[in-house]
């Protein structure tokens, strides 16, 4: 009867696992993982593979992800597919900022992940310089199965709550900070930590 005595003595903190909120969080995570609508952000040849993933042969609709939303307000996941040029980077960041929390980013393909073979002045060397990336999919381009593997990795991340851990550890956002008028700095991201 240790359990009852602990609860009587310490209230809910006496429980080893706080099952009331624990269950709710996993329910929320479960719901988030299974309705993760991607924003369309196909920039190059990787987008062709992304379209193939959404089509009948791989059928992202099995995971509630078939609706690619053109409006960032309705999207949860940004799949950056293709090389990001220096001119495109601010646009990418704006789209990301316009997305509602919670939001995730998959960097699809080597060009988005690190610039790939385009190591030159025109291409951003890794999209994680602009937005926080959750999962990297390697390949040039990644096949539909590689993208799905990345998506499953992201699902694992969402359901285990690692996203929140990372956000709180790094102070939200890509580690970008803006100077405010009062002299303080703040993380350059819309939404709560």
């Amino acid at each position: 009867m240790g359990l009852i005595a602990d609860v009587r003595g310490q209230g809910l903190e006496g429980l080893e696992h706080n099952f009331v909120t624990g269950r709710l969080e996993s329910l929320v995570n479960w719901a988030r993982a299974r309705s993760c609508w991607p924003a369309t952000f196909g920039l190059a040849c990787c987008a062709i593979e992304m379209m193939a993933t959404g089509a009948a042969h791989y059928d992202l609709a099995r995971y509630g992800m078939e609706v690619f939303r053109a409006s960032p307000r309705q999207a949860d996941l940004m799949i950056v597919a293709g090389r990001v040029s220096q001119k495109m980077a601010p646009v990418l960041r704006q789209i990301y900022d316009q997305m509602m929390e919670p939001k995730w980013v998959i960097s699809m393909g080597v060009c988005a992940s690190s610039g790939g073979m385009f190591n030159n002045y025109a291409i951003v060397q890794g999209v994680d310089q602009v937005v926080p990336v959750d999962v990297y999919a390697p390949g040039c381009p990644p096949g539909p199965e590689t993208l799905m593997h990345a998506i499953f990795t992201l699902h694992d991340k969402i359901t285990t709550g690692e996203v929140l851990a990372r956000r709180s550890a790094r102070g939200a956002g890509a580690g970008l900070a803006v100077e405010q008028r009062d002299g303080q700095t703040a993380a350059a991201m819309v939404g709560r930590r």
């Binding site: 080597v110 992940s113 790939g116 990297y136 390697p138 690692e162």
Partner: protein
């Protein structure tokens, strides 16, 4: 009534067989299907560092792969062999060998450049990372195990057949190569595993067997059946 044509298309599709491959990334619950589509024979996937049958490493640390790589994703540092306990035959061996999979474009140029056929590419293409550091594969991850098979790392989704027909034999026996070298020691397959008879060069007369195989290929338009026995004992070192 033109709009009914659209409904007719939907109705027709309803009764067709499903084309979806039930891929679940190795996370299927018991009873759930989890299939990959069959891969082409010449697909380029994750690299493998090979060994000789006696366990010696093939890599000699020459850095030709790093030099030829268009994406500069390979980092090699060679070191002198300890004469008493050599890691590789010859003077040098690959002391550090790293491939950054967030740069690699799987072009197979490293495989073509390698003089000892130390690096080949497997068919494994299903892997993803949650941070950049994981994407840099070190030598411990790339090197084959004692049986000559690639190491199946926890975050990769290996299936049967992904480590077959890795790209080493393709270079050694391709028509652009000189087939007189096929089967010689320097052109050995991976532990005698995955070796198949050489393809003829374009300008060479065909032997009877090859001619017959070509005729069969032309007759049914199908490549070789996967279960056809391979001459695994030919060639190799």
């Amino acid at each position: 009534m033109g709009y009914l044509n659209g409904f007719a298309v939907t109705l027709r599709q309803l009764f067709k067989p499903r084309v979806t491959t039930d891929y679940r990334g190795g996370r299927a619950k018991p009873g759930q299907p989890d299939a990959k589509r069959p891969k082409p024979e010449r697909l380029h996937g994750r690299h493998v560092l090979n060994r000789y049958p006696d366990g010696m490493e093939k890599c000699i640390g020459c850095e030709l792969c790093a030099g030829v790589c268009p994406a500069h994703c390979i980092y090699v540092r060679g070191a002198d062999n300890d004469p008493a306990h050599p890691t590789a035959p010859g003077e040098r061996y690959g002391y550090v060998y790293e491939i950054n999979y967030l740069r690699c474009i799987h072009c197979d140029l490293c495989v073509e450049a390698c003089p000892t056929q130390a690096i080949t590419e497997s068919k494994l293409f299903e892997f993803s990372f949650t941070n950049r550091d994981d994407a840099v594969y070190t030598k411990a991850e790339l090197l084959v195990d004692d049986e000559g098979r690639p190491r199946k790392l926890a975050w990769e989704d290996w299936r049967d057949g992904d480590d077959e027909d890795t790209s080493g034999w393709m270079r050694a026996t391709s028509p652009s190569g000189d087939r007189r070298y096929a089967g010689a020691v320097a052109w050995s397959g991976e532990l005698g595993y995955g070796v198949r008879p050489p393809e003829p060069a374009d300008d060479e007369p065909r032997t009877d067997g090859e001619q017959r195989a070509d005729d069969e290929l032309r007759a049914d338009g199908e490549p070789r059946a996967a279960d056809e026995p391979r001459a695994d004992d030919e060639g190799g070192g």
